[in-house]
């Protein structure tokens, strides 16, 4: 029967191993140990981050990744909270959910809401036009040489 354990852990080949054991390995150059250790210590000293800072950097990276991963869930919760504050019903749906919540928050959906929004826009546009007219009148007054503020009433007449 095949001995699987022998195959994986290996009992070696004593005859060949003994033969190879008689071979002389190349000698290690003198002073190699000192040179290697010295350079390793130099490199350790020049390391960009100390071990403590490395641990801190790893922890921060993990936290950043966790926050980025949790962001969609947190924002969904925030949308739910906003919707509950505004007292509106959140439309279910994976993609249109935030838009639906926003629409409800701004005045609901449907034809009536649309008409109300149009009316609001017209009022805002009219107010903007009035403000522009006032500004032009004021500018025209300022352009007049010797405006009424600096002249006596008799001189104007």
């Amino acid at each position: 029967m095949k001995d699987d354990r022998a195959e994986v852990t290996g009992y070696g080949a004593p005859d060949i191993e003994a033969e190879m054991g008689r071979l002389t390995p190349v000698p290690v150059p003198p002073g190699l140990q000192l040179r290697v250790i010295e350079r390793a210590r130099e490199s350790q000293g020049k390391a960009l981050l100390s071990p403590g800072m490395r641990i801190a950097a790893v922890i921060c990276s993990v936290l950043i990744v966790a926050l980025l991963g949790a962001d969609p869930f947190l924002s969904r919760q925030e949308a739910d909270i906003l919707a509950s504050i505004a007292g509106v019903r959140v439309q279910p749906g994976p993609s249109g959910e935030p838009a639906a919540v926003l629409a409800e928050f701004l005045g609901g959906t449907g034809e009536a809401a649309e008409a109300a929004r149009m009316a609001r826009r017209e009022i805002i546009a009219a107010a903007a036009a009035r403000r522009e007219q006032d500004r032009q009148i004021t500018a025209a007054w300022k352009r007049l040489k010797g405006g009424p503020a600096h002249e006596a009433f008799e001189e104007i007449i």
Binding site: E7, T9, A13, E19, L23, L32, V36
Partner: protein
């Protein structure tokens, strides 16, 4: 990480392995220094290492491959690594005077690169098949069969006379 202690444990074995991998004592010394510089910077990683012996040999192997790619250019270096062109028992051992040992060394030199490496790591560095597997990035069974085939070829080569 105590670098001096690590060198005491594995330094000379790694040096010989690197001479075997690179075929040159000067290159082996350069790569060994780079390896130990890495070990010194691996404070955090050492805590996760389960088998330090396999780990240091794996780092040395990667470092030797990186050195070959830098020295010979990416394409040629890669070809040399795959072909095992610089793997050499001849470089790692002093030429023996005894004819039987010389025959064995020549036979070992003629093995395919992956078998040569498995035999070297097992016989000369005393790594287990599991450790050889971690070093070479293969399964333990593959490492064992590479070793077995290599040994069979060596036995055939020297067996003719015994």
């Amino acid at each position: 990480m105590n670098v001096a202690k690590l060198y005491e444990g594995h330094g000379e074995q790694l040096y010989r392995y690197l001479v075997f991998r690179l075929g040159s004592a000067e290159d082996a010394e350069d790569v060994l220094q780079e390896c130990f510089s890495r070990f010194a910077r691996y404070d955090l990683r050492w805590r996760l290492v389960l088998d330090p012996k396999a780990f240091v040999f794996r780092v040395a192997r990667n470092e030797a491959n990186r050195f070959l790619r830098q020295k010979r250019g990416r394409r040629e270096g890669e070809e040399m690594i795959l072909a095992g062109a610089v793997n050499g028992f001849m470089a790692a051992f002093v030429a023996p005077e005894e004819p039987s040992s010389a025959l064995l060394l020549r036979a070992a030199e003629g093995l395919p690169p992956e078998q040569k490496e498995a035999v070297f790591l097992k016989v000369c560095d005393g790594l287990t098949f599991k450790e050889i597997a971690s070093v070479c990035g293969v399964s333990a069974n593959t490492a064992a069969s590479r070793y077995r085939y290599g040994i069979e070829k060596l036995r055939e080569a020297v067996g003719g006379r015994s």
